[in-house]
Symmetry: none
Subunit: 224 residues, 4 copies
Amino acid sequence: MNQRKDSGVAAAPVRARHAGGTGSASERRDHLVKLAAELFARKGFQATTVRQIADEAGILSGSLYHHFDSKESIVDEVLRTFLEDLIAHYRATLADAGDAGAVLMEMVRIGFHTLEPHRAAITVMQNDWNYLRSLPGDRFDYLVRAEDEVERMWVEQIKRGQASGQFRADVDPKLTYRMIRDGIWVAVRWFRPGGRLDTDALAEHYIKVLFDGLSTGDRTSQRA
Amino acid sequence: MNQRKDSGVAAAPVRARHAGGTGSASERRDHLVKLAAELFARKGFQATTVRQIADEAGILSGSLYHHFDSKESIVDEVLRTFLEDLIAHYRATLADAGDAGAVLMEMVRIGFHTLEPHRAAITVMQNDWNYLRSLPGDRFDYLVRAEDEVERMWVEQIKRGQASGQFRADVDPKLTYRMIRDGIWVAVRWFRPGGRLDTDALAEHYIKVLFDGLSTGDRTSQRA
Amino acid sequence: MNQRKDSGVAAAPVRARHAGGTGSASERRDHLVKLAAELFARKGFQATTVRQIADEAGILSGSLYHHFDSKESIVDEVLRTFLEDLIAHYRATLADAGDAGAVLMEMVRIGFHTLEPHRAAITVMQNDWNYLRSLPGDRFDYLVRAEDEVERMWVEQIKRGQASGQFRADVDPKLTYRMIRDGIWVAVRWFRPGGRLDTDALAEHYIKVLFDGLSTGDRTSQRA
Amino acid sequence: MNQRKDSGVAAAPVRARHAGGTGSASERRDHLVKLAAELFARKGFQATTVRQIADEAGILSGSLYHHFDSKESIVDEVLRTFLEDLIAHYRATLADAGDAGAVLMEMVRIGFHTLEPHRAAITVMQNDWNYLRSLPGDRFDYLVRAEDEVERMWVEQIKRGQASGQFRADVDPKLTYRMIRDGIWVAVRWFRPGGRLDTDALAEHYIKVLFDGLSTGDRTSQRA
DNA sequence: AATGAATGAGTCTTCATTCAT
DNA sequence: TATGAATGAAGACTCATTCAT
């Protein structure tokens, strides 16, 4: 009664899952996932014990296994939910077309907008990626699959912008994608909701520098 | 008996330390630190067991305790060495003055150039930062102190560039610094020595986008 | 509320019990016992979880406790039913008298004929005897009592046969009984209904060797 | 430093293994195996906890893992040692040839003679065979391989005796083998060293009945 | 310097059982 | 009767660390 396993990271509108039922069962479950995600983000997946998760939920550690069949399956759910949501948004944006520049900006915004609702998941992905991938079995292979799909989306847009003359041709698309991606996600390390800047401001600031550069003059870097 | 504990992250040119003495003892020690750093980077600090480190060195785990008094003291040495080296380079660059743009470019280059020699340390810092900081005691407080010092250096240069009109004034210095810093360090995740691009190329690529932006036209981002 | 606990292993023809009542309730119960017995036989009593039993029955593990008050009480019922049936048959045979040889042969046949209907119970008795007997309390003391009664029956017939000159006098009755008993029951390990030999054939084969020996000549074993 | 894994159940003179060294390390190990075997035999493999084994040895349960890498690897060693010893003896006997009857008697004697030194192992094999075989992986496949080899040896001799007219032709060789095998091994359930009968007496008694039958007259069983 | 045996605290996980609904 | 959430005790195993040799 407690496993959920989808074949891949799908595209469906994410929140439509626990269809039917009182909802109360899956609410409990979601609540536990959320608690766990916070702990995973704060202390790392390994450093978080199932007892801590259970304590946070006010139950005994063994009771967690009524809802999940392992600690791994909890992170699994955390990450899967995030990736499904992210990819669904990307796909929707790409479907709307628009010129490459507009699409790319929108993708940057999507990234920053996930920062708040998925802060924990993003943190876990970054800190525990290597560890999770090193686990035996193919349980977390979807992480790589999802990453690849996202990369394809970004690189495609960058190339399209270069082809149309909108983006400079002398940058490497894949490299540029990585820079952007990392630049966004790493913000999760220091971003705190309610701080000086919200994610909108962050996104616009990032777009400003990314598209137009830090310099006031033109082609500053040539001087180097 | 054989532990080293500095209070802060010093500036002295790092490699000059174990000079004197048998030499062989400290070489052995350095070798062990290097092995451990690789493992920490690959699997994470917690997921790396002292037995794995010892195996790699061809000794038994208990024997490690003749060289270090704890697993923590090993990672301590890894990170400290890196930070000392980095800060020493920054200081040297700042001492040479030059205009803000030139200094900033040089700082970017320093960052990318540490990628190869300090790949392991940088990886550990990123993945295990939260965990190490959460440990009881003040053992890893110097991480924050070092980060603060580095931030001061960068922000100062950015502000200097804005004051002189070299950098646009409508960006947030601190935020910009973080963007740059993250963009550089995160490269450690996918950068592999001997790949398509070396760290020089990475640095120049990064500088190009950072200073002049992705767009060909002017102030593209305003259109959003 | 719904438990049955007899003090000893009775002789009454077993299946006549749950007569009366709704009938359906006790049928359900018997069905559960049968499912459980299969699992106990296949995987061992301890290795079988109540969840597995419940799964097999299509209910949740907690629901089993409406029928039985513990896992032990299930195995108790499995073994008790078998022993009651076996002893009832033995008693019936002994009541019919006949010469010792004929009675012994019939007892051998009874043994082999229980193999199929009570395969699970016999398997459990053999594999989990030690464990069940080691449990605290006197719950499974009847196992020993039943075993003793059976032994008495057999040994009595062997001695009778020796006294009448039908059986050779130079064998130990008790030891011989054990040999026979073991030879029969252990067959449960490899006997599969529907295989090359049915239990009738097994019984006759066994009787042949037991009564006349493996040799063609006379008193082969003296040569050793 | 703590695993031993032979490819199969070999034939080499068994006790020649821990060659070289002070012997003290492997003596400790052997001692632990012996203690564990006793417990496994008395309470069953599953019902025996590693803590009980450790208690018996006067160490903490975790310390056992310095010597073995799992509870399974301990039984593995118990069973492997027994099977190697048994098969080595069988092979030696077969090498000496002799007529089928003599060889078979000797094999029976070998069986009974293992009862005392390998009482624990034999008990474990019988009670926990199903469970061990059901474990995932191929770790205990050698149990079946060894059983097959032993069966081949026995059946071959029985057939040889039938071909030479020494054994009656109207018994099934495989079936007869199983009866004999089980008849011997099951004795482990009630045999206690120092009791009324030693294993020599048991063997001779068994041989008597097996070769010449229980009856005084000839072909008693035909009367049935 | 290194070994190897051991510690002790802690980890994830299992499972028979209970009980309000 | 059955559910489903929870308990609580226990289990195998891990691992940083210690220490006599």
